[in-house]
Amino acid sequence: MEPLLKLNQLKTIFSTEKGKVTAVDDVSFEIHAGEMVGLVGESGCGKSVTSESILQLLNEKTTNYEGKILYKGKNLLELSEEQMRGIRGNEISMIFQDPMSSLNPVYTIGNQIAEAIMIHQRVGKKEANLRAIEMLRLTGIPSPEKRIHEYPHELSGGMRQRVMIALALSCKPQLLIADEPTTALDVTIQSQILELIQELREELDMGVILITHDLGVVAEVCTRVIVMYLGQIIEEADVKTLFKSPLHPYTKGLLKSIPHLDGDRTQKLNVIKGVVPSLQDVPSGCRFAPRCDFATEQCHENPPELLELENGQKVRCWNYEHILREAKDHAVTTSENK
């Protein structure tokens, strides 16, 4: 089956006053219809820039792309601005983190949803309004026929995020990019919104890219996970494999550094030493080497490639086999000790 979206060695390069910065470096992945893929990493890892590159939302004067973004076989980077406009919001939609700054404060929410429907679906105002009400109802907003006359400031954070989702889904897109959709929300509201995205994904058979830093959220809703670090993919696996047997030292470190609900409270949390380096001076070898406990000379000198293993798991690390063996030995000795 042809993937819905295929990124082929995408590079996003910004021209800044201090020179060129490659925010996304050689990123390739595929998204299929009906699948929810988590894109995780810390700030500055390029997860948001990747998604903004797909929709070409970045300033075109200062941004250069290399590689291909194939949507249903079409390279989005070769489309004209006008053709791109037909895709944005219609076939590929995006939900942003902060609904307050992505909704227009001076238009009613009904107006904003109807506008998108009128532009893409070529229907009249009346029909568009009806569809807007339908979309709001689908996202679980009570009495939507009254709500469409309200302005964004009259709604709570959770409600606003629902409006954003209704807006993003109003044209029944095939691909949804959700950039930290629940980060600004409270946990009880977060679980409502995640459940809603799950339901709609099943109903519309959408592909979803969920961008987040919260590994808990990823574990609950995603089927596949892509981990990014400093502009590169460093590991990719299906969700069970990634949480059970992560290969990259960075992924391992991340998973160990979050406090677990069933963890021992007296134990100190695991720490990844150091800080994420700036994109302006990327380490010359493996980008994670300066913070890695397993780094060897080779790691500091040569950048590793993203390797695909037999089980489909991908990892960018020189020593993953060695680390894997060590972990196995360790597991054997501890079980023997028991």
């Binding site: 700030s43 009880t188 977060q190 550094s257 979050i258 409270r265 949390l269 800080v275």
Partner: protein, 330 residues
């Protein structure tokens, strides 16, 4: 007699908050009071030496206001905050100013709580200057020592805040809070703005400092996994009220209030094979401007009975150190 007095002094909790209330007036354009936002209502807890109390709840539940009111950054409407038996709310501004050195605050966003035009060494010295402690040479030495204590280098004294990352800035915020040798630190979402890998560094640092300086923390946060890790006891707040309070392990193993149960069940767990019954609450948090009558949670509570709509439940102890406000638990 003397020894007896001494003993009671030691047993007394370091901080005792009783019936804390903060109602913000809402005024019309002409200054007429039209109503009140009940931001904090009847909050009670005690904090012992070297103990951490976690305050959790969703946005608008009053956890930050509680923290700020104790420090009188916001003046309380009524209630008591007894620090070593002395009511902080009754002190005159001038006397309280002196007391403030014992209670300090760490803020969420270290970017906006540190003056961008001030060298960080100066920022750490400033509280000592205000409280007229040490001479200028000693102050600089102490600032450098504090930088070392929080895992930065003494020679970073002359740097400006923008030269530091978020995690480092939070360390500076902590160093500044420690400058006056406080006994209580009120930490308002101290790690929420940090990346996952940096979060654990700061949490470990806070635990080390607690041991080293005998600190007590009031740790305000919305991330329950973090709060569970650091707290000895946890208070759960909803719409300005404390609905449940218990020692950490007790709260996680035997949550009693339906809201606590829902909250605990909505924490995303970083384990895809972990399955559990999720309690998904319906609806939104009501506005504190116009809170529901009776139990404030009844509009979203899956177990609400008739009594919940009319009668406000009392916050009472149901097991050792475990208090809850719910009609269904009697």
């Amino acid at each position: 007699m003397q020894s007896l007095l001494q003993k009671t002094n030691d047993e007394r909790p370091l901080l005792e908050v009783k019936g804390l209330k903060k109602h913000f007036p809402i005024t019309s354009a002409l200054g007429k009071v039209q109503g009140y936002v009940q931001a904090v209502n009847n909050v009670e807890f005690t904090l012992n030496k070297r103990e951490t109390l976690g305050l959790v709840g969703e946005s608008g539940c009053g956890k930050s206001t509680t923290g700020r009111t104790i420090l009188r950054l916001i003046e309380p409407t009524s209630g008591q905050a007894l620090y070593k038996g002395k009511d902080l709310f009754q002190l005159k501004q001038k006397d309280f100013q002196k007391m403030r050195s014992k209670l300090q605050m760490v803020f969420q966003d270290p970017h906006s709580s540190i003056n961008p035009k001030q060298r960080i060494g100066r920022a750490i010295e400033e509280p000592m200057k205000i409280h007229k402690l040490y001479d200028s040479k000693e102050r600089s030495e102490r600032a450098m020592e504090l930088l070392n204590k929080v895992g930065l280098r003494g020679d970073q004294y002359y740097r400006y805040p923008h030269e530091f990352s978020g995690g480092q800035r939070q360390r500076i915020g902590i160093a500044r809070a420690l400058a006056l040798n406080p006994e209580i630190l009120i930490c308002d979402e101290p790690v929420s703005a940090l990346d996952v890998s940096i979060q654990s560094q700061v949490i470990n640092l806070m635990e080390e400092l607690q041991e080293q300086f005998d600190l007590s923390y009031i740790f305000i946060a919305h991330d329950l996994s973090v709060v569970r890790h650091i707290s000895d006891q946890i208070g759960v707040m909803y719409l300005g009220e404390l609905v449940e309070k218990a020692p950490t392990d007790e709260l996680f193993s035997h949550p009693l209030h339906p809201y606590t149960k829902a909250l605990l069940s909505s924490i995303p767990v970083a384990n895809p094979e972990f399955k559990r019954e999720k309690i998904v609450l319906k609806g939104d948090i009501p506005s504190p401007l116009n809170p529901p009558a009776g139990c404030k949670f009844h509009t979203r509570c899956p177990y609400a009975i008739k009594r919940c709509k009319n009668e406000e439940p009392v916050f009472k102890e149901v097991a050792k150190n475990h208090s809850v406000a719910c009609h269904l638990i009697d």
